[in-house]
């Protein structure tokens, strides 16, 4: 009996530990409280502020555009790298795999700071341009795209590319009509991973962003230090929205993969 209690209690405690803070934030985002404490009344004021303040709106749109752009570039580069490495000789390909691991393991602070030095100090790229920021986020994301594409290539029947060539396709046609469709799943999950990483990033952005631009992360850090309470509470609303969005995306993805697995099972 006591065993059964433990078996249920432990996961419940872990889940509470993970989700209670977010739920508290979500709850407070619907109140007029200026700090976590006594709740006087419920209101949607924070959501109105979030969408009516020009500064907040442009910051959110900018962050999303940055994430999508950087993820797109990272997906192209990461996929090219994976294909190149897959068709290289063994030694070359394991060298590429090792080099690819470094940005994954390396601390973001180091990546951000060193990129800043390289681009701004060494190459003299203007600190006001978006180039260092985009380069920084692509550097952050591309290795993860590589890591999610490589397994798909390994699963693929290696004679497919040759079969396409054999039927008259040029190498480029074989790549786009046969190889890419086979690894598309890996590219899509690499892309979504890249979007999340870019949205999440704080360190690289602080070192590489132009002074006039803020991502959600850098903005939140600055705003929590500031004194504008209505902006601070609007950020609770933003956090809640992001959380809901993530839950919806994860739910849809799980539903889809469940259906795909069922389909596979039916075929077999």
């Amino acid at each position: 009996m006591s065993r059964k209690i433990v078996r249920i209690a432990v996961p419940v405690l872990v889940l509470l530990f993970l989700y209670v803070p977010i739920l508290i934030l979500a709850l407070y985002s619907f109140t007029d409280a200026t700090q976590i404490g006594a709740i006087r009344s419920f209101t949607l004021k924070n959501y109105v502020t979030l969408f009516s303040t020009e500064e907040l709106r442009s910051m959110i749109v900018g962050t999303i555009l940055l994430a999508l752009g950087a993820a797109l570039l990272a997906t192209i580069l990461g996929t090219l790298g994976a294909i190149g490495s897959f068709y290289s000789r063994k030694r070359t390909s394991s060298a590429i795999a090792t080099v690819n691991q470094i940005p994954v393991i390396n601390a973001d602070v180091v990546t951000g700071f060193s990129l800043c030095i390289l681009l701004v100090v060494v190459f003299g790229v203007s600190k006001d341009s978006y180039i260092p920021l985009v380069v920084g986020h692509v550097t952050l994301c591309a290795p993860f795209v590589y890591l999610s594409v490589i397994p798909k290539l390994k699963q693929m029947d290696s004679s497919l590319y040759e079969a396409a060539m054999d039927l008259g396709a040029t190498p480029a046609q074989a790549l786009f009509r046969v190889v890419i469709p086979q690894i598309l799943g890996g590219m899509v999950s690499g892309f979504s991973l890249a979007v999340t990483l870019s949205l999440d990033d704080y360190f690289i952005a602080t070192y590489t962003k132009p002074a006039t631009f803020d991502t959600i992360s850098t903005y939140v850090v600055n705003a929590t230090r500031g004194s504008q309470t209505d902006i601070k509470t609007a950020l609770w609303a933003l956090s809640t929205l992001i959380f809901v969005l993530v839950i919806v995306i994860v739910g849809v993805m799980n539903f889809n993969s469940g259906r795909a697995q069922k389909k596979e099972a039916e075929k077999a």
Binding site: M165, D166, L167, A169
Partner: protein, 481 residues
């Protein structure tokens, strides 16, 4: 176009990989238009590499490939009028059957209506009418194989390459597909080049068989030629079951082997060392006194259409296929008609290899000093006080300038699995073995790259790692001028 013209010619084709492995060496072949040619050999013999070079997936390091008289060896695969049926089909999983087959035609920008017509026709040819909309994963192995064949044939290639296309099918399906493929070949008149390790498949389907081993052609011929007149022991052993014996010619069309005297039909000079091949079905069991040789039955296995009977005759084992059974332990006679014996002139199997003279003026092989007298080997030589070797003019011999060759017979080499044994001169891997009646003949790929031939009465496994012991008293040395 003339029917007997060569559609494809391979001239002195060699392929050496980056790691130095020579997969194919000096491959020469002419294929006539409309022929069904099979490359046959054990795995790793270079047959697939040769096929890949014809398809264009691999480039020969030497030699040229002529298609209708024009060199295509540097042409990419998409520029060659040749299509391939892959071992594991290589169908595109994201396309349905129609799209798979139409892939090549769409690239040629053929009008849609014409593509539809052609796909329909080729699906009829492979017996898959109405399968256009099906997806690849809903098809069985045999059906996928047919789609793969259809996808290649729809492009109307001049040559169709098939890389072990039936390897993944079950026995019954394989037999059916063999017949169908052969029928398709006869109907379409396209040249087929087929790769397999299954000798029965090769014998059933081909007009011409190319038997390969270790990157080299062993024999080219019709199935009958290859079966009845194998050119060497490898071919005889690989194609069908055979009894292979070492022997000697004792007179005109007379040979002695396996402890008996036999009449034969091959005219080889008296005294020649020979290898005799006798097919198990060509040996007749008789009463003990009527046979050319006699022996004791040691095993009888029922194989459905015949019995496989093994007879111990002296130190030789003889395998016989007969529709009549025999009793284990009984003494029987064995008779072979002259045309049941195939005589091949024995290959000279003496192992010849270079040995070095080291700085101490001693013979050395693979890092081990050989304790043998150099003064006896090199005429008029003697040693001075520093133990240096002087030639007949009294001058010190330069180790770099003298070349010494050692030779040893296969039966004098011993094999051991204890490669750390002090007596082991060189290590290697067993790459081939042939049973010769009373012993096995092994080919050992040594780490120096040289192959040694070793006779041993015990059975070792392919790819076993062995150490070779070369007794010094059995080695002969010779100075090479």
């Amino acid at each position: 176009m003339e029917n007997n013209q060569n559609i494809i010619e391979l001239k002195h084709i060699s392929r050496t990989f980056e790691d130095g492995f020579r997969a194919v060496s000096d491959f020469n072949l002419e294929v006539k238009r409309g022929e069904f040619v099979t490359f046959l050999g054990p795995s790793g013999c270079g047959k697939t590499t040769t096929l890949r070079m014809i398809a264009g997936f691999d480039m020969p390091t030497e030699g040229e490939i002529l298609l209708n008289g024009q060199d295509i060896s540097k042409l990419p695969p998409n520029k060659r009028p040749i299509n391939t049926v892959f071992q594991r089909y290589a169908l595109f999983p994201h396309m349905n059957i129609f799209e798979n087959i139409a892939f090549g035609l769409k690239l040629k920008k053929m009008p849609r209506e014409e593509i539809k017509k052609k796909v329909k026709k080729v699906l009829e040819l492979v017996d898959l009418e109405g399968f256009e909309k099906r997806s690849v994963s809903t098809l069985s192995g045999g059906q996928q194989q047919r789609v793969a064949i259809a996808r290649a044939l729809v492009n109307e290639p001049e040559i169709l390459l098939l890389d072990e296309p039936l390897g993944a099918l079950d026995l019954k399906m394989r037999k059916e597909m063999q017949i169908e493929l052969k029928a398709m070949h006869d109907e379409l008149g396209i040249t087929f080049i087929y790769v397999t390790h299954d000798q029965e498949e090769a014998l059933t389907m081909s007009d011409k068989i190319v038997v390969m081993s270790e990157g080299k052609i062993q024999q080219i011929g019709t199935p009958e030629d290859i079966y009845n007149e194998p050119q060497n022991a490898f071919v005889a052993d690989f194609i069908g079951e055979s009894n292979i014996f070492n022997g000697i010619m004792t007179g005109t069309m007379q040979a002695r082997f396996a402890g008996g005297h036999f009449q034969c039909v091959d005219d080889v000079p008296e005294g020649t060392q020979i290898t005799a091949v006798v097919r198990p079905e060509d040996i007749e069991l008789t009463a003990p006194e009527q046979g050319q040789i006699r022996g004791k039955v040691i095993s009888v296995i029922f194989k459905g259409i015949h019995y496989e009977i093994t007879v111990q005759s002296g130190r030789y084992e003889v395998v016989i296929q007969s529709t009549k059974s025999a009793e284990v332990g009984s003494v029987v006679g064995m008779k072979v008609e002259p045309d049941g014996i195939h005589i091949m002139i024995a290959e000279n199997n003496t192992n010849v290899f270079p040995v070095d003279m080291n700085r101490n003026h001693r013979l050395e092989f693979n890092g081990t000093e050989l304790d043998t007298s150099l003064t006896q080997l090199i005429k008029g030589s003697r040693r001075n006080e520093e133990h240096e070797l002087l030639d007949e003019n009294g001058e010190v011999i330069d180790p770099e300038k003298i070349h010494i060759i050692a030779s040893i017979e296969p039966q004098d080499i011993r094999m051991t699995d204890d490669v750390d044994d002090e007596q082991v001169l060189i290590e290697g891997t067993i790459s081939n073995l042939i049973y010769k009646g009373d012993h096995y003949s092994y080919v050992i790929n040594t780490d120096l790259g040289q192959d040694f031939i070793v006779d041993d009465e015990y059975l070792w496994n392919m790819d076993d790692r062995v150490g070779l012991i070369l007794p010094l008293d059995k080695m002969r040395f010779q100075v090479k001028k």
